[in-house]
Subunit: 401 residues, 2 copies
């Protein structure tokens, strides 16, 4: 079938995705993404104070957020959160078994789980799944691996980018799951990013952290921060000779490619937000600082009233003004200018006599852009979200415990 | 019809509510609540940085939040927000006309408006409405006044309480509108509270501020803070001889009655939240401070995922844990205990083997209670909200601009 469409596109990576009946649906629910040798690795994990045992395990393996690992094993269907010491042993057992089958040590395997909170993993099924997955690792199975990490996602989300660094073509690729419980403030998602660029662990972590702030962290579906979110970045080094030095031209090219891949994945997550019919980009400019711009942009992006108005195609810009006004960032209505699509609807304290039809047409599209100029400074941030639909409620009222 | 059911129940008050076609529906949309003589008055206004011109007007009349006034004039259908200097003149004109008809000065009349943001008031209609309302002031018209301040409310919300202070029966009453854009952090609603207790303006303001924090501010429907929210409290003094001194037994009885009335109104607002099918009370105890308890309780009460789960009757307590973990208040899963109704579902870091049927039965009721003990201190707060339904989306996707 599909061959090396995303995470196995960079040289050196293999993947597998199998169904081991953690999910009642019988769909794929266990994935391994492995490197043929030890890869440089960096992770970013959720800032939720209630976090999963796999998160705890990964932090113990990579206390600084970077190091060298061989593989990542991920299950969906159950998140192994609020499961205590027994849950931690389950996460460690997943790493141990994967490591044994790959001929490495448990400290070289990272673990993630996603799904319902508060249930022990069905370890007999998980062990069978790991055995099957380790036996089917291939460059051709990245699509199966992606299906195996999905929960309420309605479509696979991935990105690949090639860039020339030091005369050699390097590939940066990623796959992501996530469509609900996607939140602001350093929440992330489960994403696996791979590259064949040569880059040392610490430099890799620095690149990942930077890409997070502007990309994944800009996405907010519902303001609910997951307990399980993790982003993994593995670098095989096969497309480079010596590791890229931080600050070098090659490093900057790598960072740009990584940021672009993360940006595409972030937009894909927002567009596939639970029940979403539209992608919404909220840009706040003219804030007193970048931090205030982020607070203000997310206040709009998380406003249920604003998101419902966009869903209904209603140019109710008053809800944008109200959402800005309620946040901790400084806002002065008399300096505020609001644009929906290309139309200025409010300029420095006064509604404009805008053409309603033009705004309504923009709101009917698949991507809605809102630009808020606070007129107070140079701070700028773009938050990404989706509209709020009845379908969001249906999905989340019926997600089974 | 109905006679003195709420705001005219205390001695000395009159009310009127008329339809003057600000609302396209033709329903009542202009109300006056008046005292027969100058009343002690206290107000609390929205903390939204984008606030309505009526809010600006009231703040100019009562810069300290208290004073003496004769009446409050309120319209629904249009909120007079983001309307600039012209909007301010409209608000002032409403006060001037009302004052002239009541034989007092414009500085003795307060103004509020609720409805769509960003449109000038149709002042010809408003003036006709004020004339009609001033001509129909009566003890019997408080229900019409209440209907005239409603927007997406599905039912009238009011409360009356009698208490004996200094050997005389005093009455505390209130009516409130609000079912969407109801938010945390000192946001309020439009409420008119009346009493015939004798109490000086400053003491009245102190009592109102205290009642706000634990009552109206505990309500959050959708985390969206309105630009127009105001609470008015008028005291005619007719049921008392000399003003109650702050700290006296009589003052404490008055404060308790006021708090009870505000609490009933707050619960009524939550139960009538847009699309609500259930009232939800989220109590956080054991926080490091009362402020952290409030942050944590509101984090749960504002979680769309939690509210959808309650709507679907799903005992998905993991979403409660996740919502606690994401907030700024300190949370340690190993000290955390969660109860839904009377059932403990999670105790100090471990899921209990609770009876699913008991929790499901509780979730099917009209009032759902969630108790979170953080196990870290003595801070305690109860937030009040409602479930999140498809109907909320329908209402807010179709509210006309």
């Amino acid at each position: 079938m599909a061959s090396a469409r995303h995470v196995t596109a960079p040289a050196g990576f293999l993947a597998a995705g199998v169904a081991c009946r953690i999910k009642e649906s019988g769909r794929e629910d266990l994935a391994i993404i492995a490197c043929k040798h030890d890869a440089a690795a960096a992770i970013v994990t959720t800032r939720n104070q209630v976090f999963g045992e796999p998160v705890r395990y990964c932090r113990s393996v990579l206390p600084k957020g970077y190091g060298r690992v061989r593989a990542v094993v991920i299950n969906s269907g159950s998140s192994n959160v609020c499961t205590g010491a027994a849950g931690y042993r389950d996460a460690a057992a997943m790493a141990q078994q994967t490591a044994r089958l790959l001929g490495t040590s448990a400290r070289k395997v990272l673990v993630a789980s996603t799904g319902i909170i508060g249930h022990r993993l069905p370890m007999a099924k998980v062990h069978a799944g790991i055995t099957a997955a380790a036996g089917s690792l291939s460059r051709n199975n990245d699509d199966a691996a992606l299906r195996a990490i999905m929960t309420t996602d309605t479509r696979p989300k991935y990105a690949v980018l090639r860039t020339v660094i030091g005369g050699k073509t390097a590939t940066v690729a990623g796959m992501v799951k996530g469509s609900g419980m996607i939140a602001p403030s350093m929440a992330t998602l489960i994403a696996v990013l791979t590259t064949d660029a040569a880059i040392a662990p610490r430099a890799l972590h620095q690149a990942l952290t930077a890409a997070m702030q502007d990309r994944f962290n800009a996405v907010t579906i519902d303001s609910d921060m997951s307990t399980s979110d993790m982003v993994f970045l593995l670098a095989s080094g096969q497309a480079g000779r010596s590791p890229l030095a931080v600050g070098s031209g090659g490093y900057r090219k790598f960072c740009a490619a990584l940021s672009e891949v993360c940006g595409r994945l972030a937009r894909a997550v927002a567009a596939d937000g639970e029940g979403a019919t539209k992608l919404i980009e909220v840009t706040v400019a003219g804030a007193r600082s970048a931090a205030e711009a982020e607070v203000a942009a997310k206040s709009v992006a998380n406003s249920p009233l604003f998101k419902c108005a966009v869903h209904g195609g209603d140019p109710n810009w008053g809800r944008i003004a109200a959402a800005l006004g309620k946040c901790r960032a400084k806002v002065d209505p008399n300096k505020l200018t609001l644009r929906i699509g290309a139309t200025t609807v409010f300029r420095r304290g006064r509604p404009t006599s805008f053409r309603l039809a033009a705004v309504q047409r923009h709101l009917k599209g698949k991507t809605v852009t809102v630009a808020c100029d606070l007129g107070l400074g140079k701070g700028r941030y773009t938050a990404i979200t989706c509209d709020l639909s009845r379908e969001y409620v249906t999905i989340n009222a019926e997600y089974h415990t």
